[in-house]
């Protein structure tokens, strides 16, 4: 439609505008529906006692699948494993990213750029390519740790508990560290970029006011960097939460199984696929990511407005 014809038919313009708007909205709604169908199916099937692989409105609603998940299967265990491992990995990644990002942002050393590119390079390498060397390293560390545990504790039960917690292979510590390490490059980049945006005036002002290094970090830098931490933490948590390869590689005991592994193994069971159970698991699996996002949103929108300049 030409501009000229629009200009002439002034009376019809508003009518045409609504029509075109209607078309726009219709298209967008259709696209949204298309994207949402899998989620809708997952939610509906999870509360349908007769869940099947087809999208349908449940005849009755029940929480049986969820009940089954927690009461009869190891669902609770998987969730707790996932939460403990991923939250720990996220916290470790954030601590290192905070210090590392700050240091890289403030340094003027010649190695600043090479280091930044090296960090990105680590990120570029596909994780499966690293499996063999990483596994080798972890195995060596594992031997050391277990030798240490066996030397320190004599009681077999304690040895087993400690081994479960601190082993690098088939233990919590190993998985936590490897997941944290995987999330670190992106987290460091996010934090570095964020600290770049925090004017050094804040720190200098704190220094003149007599703040110690620790006070500057705690009272000035961390509060100012909260949006950065929220963004980096959100990415780290969601990435780690969705990671399938590392738990598969580094755990074998059923007690260490995380949610994605549990979901996968439930799907592979030889007997008939229990769609209700799987979808309930999928809903539970999605929830923390949603919660994490809504939690981070509060900080993501925080800005420096008013802090510097007019």
């Amino acid at each position: 439609m030409s501009i000229a014809s629009n200009a002439i038919t002034t009376n019809g313009t508003s009518q045409k505008m609504t029509k075109s708007q209607f078309k726009t909205y219709l298209t967008l709604i259709l696209i949204s529906l298309y994207c949402m169908v899998p989620f809708i199916w997952v939610v509906l099937a999870s509360v349908d006692p007769k869940a099947s692989q087809f999208l349908k409105i449940p005849e009755s609603v029940s929480m049986d699948h969820y009940w089954n998940l927690f009461a009869n299967q190891s669902g609770l265990r998987w969730i707790l494993n996932s939460i403990v491992i991923n939250v720990s990995a996220t916290i470790i990644a954030l601590v290192f990213a905070g210090f590392g990002g700050y240091a890289i942002s403030r340094t003027k050393a010649w190695w600043k750029l090479p280091l930044l590119y090296a960090i990105i390079l680590v990120r570029i390498v596909p994780p499966p390519a690293l499996i063999v060397p990483v596994y080798k390293v972890m195995l060596t560390l594992n031997d050391w740790v277990n030798a240490l545990i066996n030397a320190v504790f004599t009681d077999v039960a304690t040895q087993q508990t400690m081994s479960r917690a601190f082993s690098f292979v088939d233990g919590y510590l190993g998985l936590i560290l490897i997941l944290a390490a995987m999330q670190l490059p992106l987290a460091i980049w996010i934090m570095k970029t964020f600290f770049d945006a925090i004017p050094i005036d804040y720190e200098e002002s704190a220094a003149i006011d007599g703040a110690t290094q620790w006070q500057t970090v705690r009272k000035v830098l961390i509060p100012l960097a909260m949006p950065g931490f929220a963004a980096a933490g959100l990415f780290a948590f969601i990435n780690a939460w969705g990671d399938f390869l590392m738990p598969l590689m580094f755990t074998s005991s059923p007690e260490l199984q995380t949610l994605p592994l549990g979901l996968f193994r439930a799907f592979l069971r030889v007997d008939a696929i229990d769609y209700g159970f799987l979808t309930a698991l999928a809903v539970i699996y999605t929830l923390p990511a949603v919660i994490a996002f809504s939690f981070a949103r509060k900080f993501l929108t925080q800005t420096f407005s008013g802090g510097v300049k007019g």
């Binding site: 200098e204 003149i208 009272k219 100012l224 008013g306 510097v308 300049k309 007019g310």
Partner: protein, 357 residues
């Protein structure tokens, strides 16, 4: 209260010399303004006084004690940053009391002192707000509040008014002078704006390329500039500088510039060749004769004064200030240069004699 002495202070990053040997003293309770174009080293100088930059060589004394190696918080100073550096996550009250809270002062005492500072700066109603909810001028006052609440011996200002609009700047200038009178703190104030320097300073230090160009009272700098840099930097519009030379006859000396011929004092000693003739726009008069005619390029009417931008041939533009409003409809004017108000500078830009006639 404290006296600040800078003795041959130098600052160098690698091979780049930023401050090249600066010596001056700010007396106890004095309002000193360091002024210069951007990149002249004035902010670096201030940051060295604050202790945020190391001093490459030279000596800094605060209250007679060498302070080169004293940490910033032990120097008894407060600093107002150009960016204000207010913490966005803290309220106005928390921002003002930040330094006291760090030092673990009693809560009641902090509240009391914050209140006092807020009262002085008319911020009492805003204490619970966050910086984002304040206007530029209010933020500026909070930044000042944060400095004065510490009751410092010295307050350093790093271009504090540069983020404000023109009207607010005028208001804050008056405010700063009032605060200085009330507190009596020694103030070192850095700016690139010579108007701020002229209006507030008791002592001006003009810095150019890491050197002090001139140091003195505002009016001394205005009336007796020691070099062309100061002559052009201080005063708006800047002093007119014309290239010329000196000519003599049996009885008199003249300075000649593109046909101009202004008589000088007979006992004037001069052996060089080129010369610069400096005269302020307000010192030039319009003449009735047809000598030295200039083309009128632009007329700026401000009501209280009128500026004429004049040019002759390819010479630099000369600006003339006329008192009051003039609705001139002319293409050409003739000028009269009162010889007693002309300043002469040599080719290196140094003033020839302070009392050139």
């Amino acid at each position: 209260m404290a006296k600040i002495e800078l003795i041959d202070i130098k600052k160098q990053y690698g091979d780049t010399k930023i401050v090249k040997g600066v010596t001056f003293t700010v007396e106890d309770g004095e309002f000193a303004v360091v002024v210069g174009p951007s990149g002249c080293g004035k902010s670096t100088l201030l940051r060295m006084i604050a202790g945020l930059e190391d001093i490459t060589s030279g000596e800094l004394r605060i209250d007679g004690k060498v302070a080169n190696q004293v940490s910033p918080d032990k120097r008894g100073i407060a600093m107002v940053f150009q960016s204000y550096a207010l913490y966005p996550h803290l309220t106005v009250a928390e921002n003002i009391g930040f330094a006291l809270t760090l030092k673990k002062h009693d809560k009641a005492e902090v509240a009391q002192r914050v209140k006092e500072a807020a009262k002085m700066l008319q911020l009492e109603d805003l204490l619970q707000r966050k910086p984002a909810e304040l206007s530029g001028g209010q933020r500026q006052r909070v930044a000042i509040g944060r400095a004065i609440v510490k009751r410092p011996k010295v307050i350093l200002f790093d271009e504090p008014l540069s983020n404000l609009d023109a009207k607010l700047r005028v208001q804050m200038r008056a405010e700063l002078q009032r605060l200085h009178k009330e507190f009596g703190s020694t103030i070192v104030y850095v700016t690139h704006d010579q108007v701020e320097a002229m209006t507030m300073a008791e002592k001006i230090v003009v810095l150019n390329q890491g050197h002090i160009s001139q140091l003195g009272k505002p009016m001394d700098l205005y009336q007796q500039p020691q070099n062309t840099f100061v002559a052009e930097f201080i005063g708006i519009p800047k002093m007119n500088l014309l290239d010329g030379e000196i000519q003599k006859n049996e009885t008199n000396m003249f300075v000649c510039s593109n046909g101009l011929r202004i008589p000088l004092a007979a006992n004037y000693q001069w052996t060089g060749k080129g010369i610069k003739l400096g005269i302020r726009p307000e010192h030039i008069d319009l003449a009735d004769n047809d000598q030295w005619q200039y083309d009128v390029k632009i007329i700026e009417r401000l009501g209280i004064e009128t500026y004429l931008h004049l040019q002759r041939g390819k010479e630099d533009v000369i600006v003339v200030r006329l008192e009051g409003d003039h609705d001139l409809d002319i293409d050409k004017v003739s000028l009269h240069f009162p010889s007693e108000l002309c300043r002469l500078f040599n080719e290196e830009g140094q003033v020839l004699l302070p009392n050139v006639i």
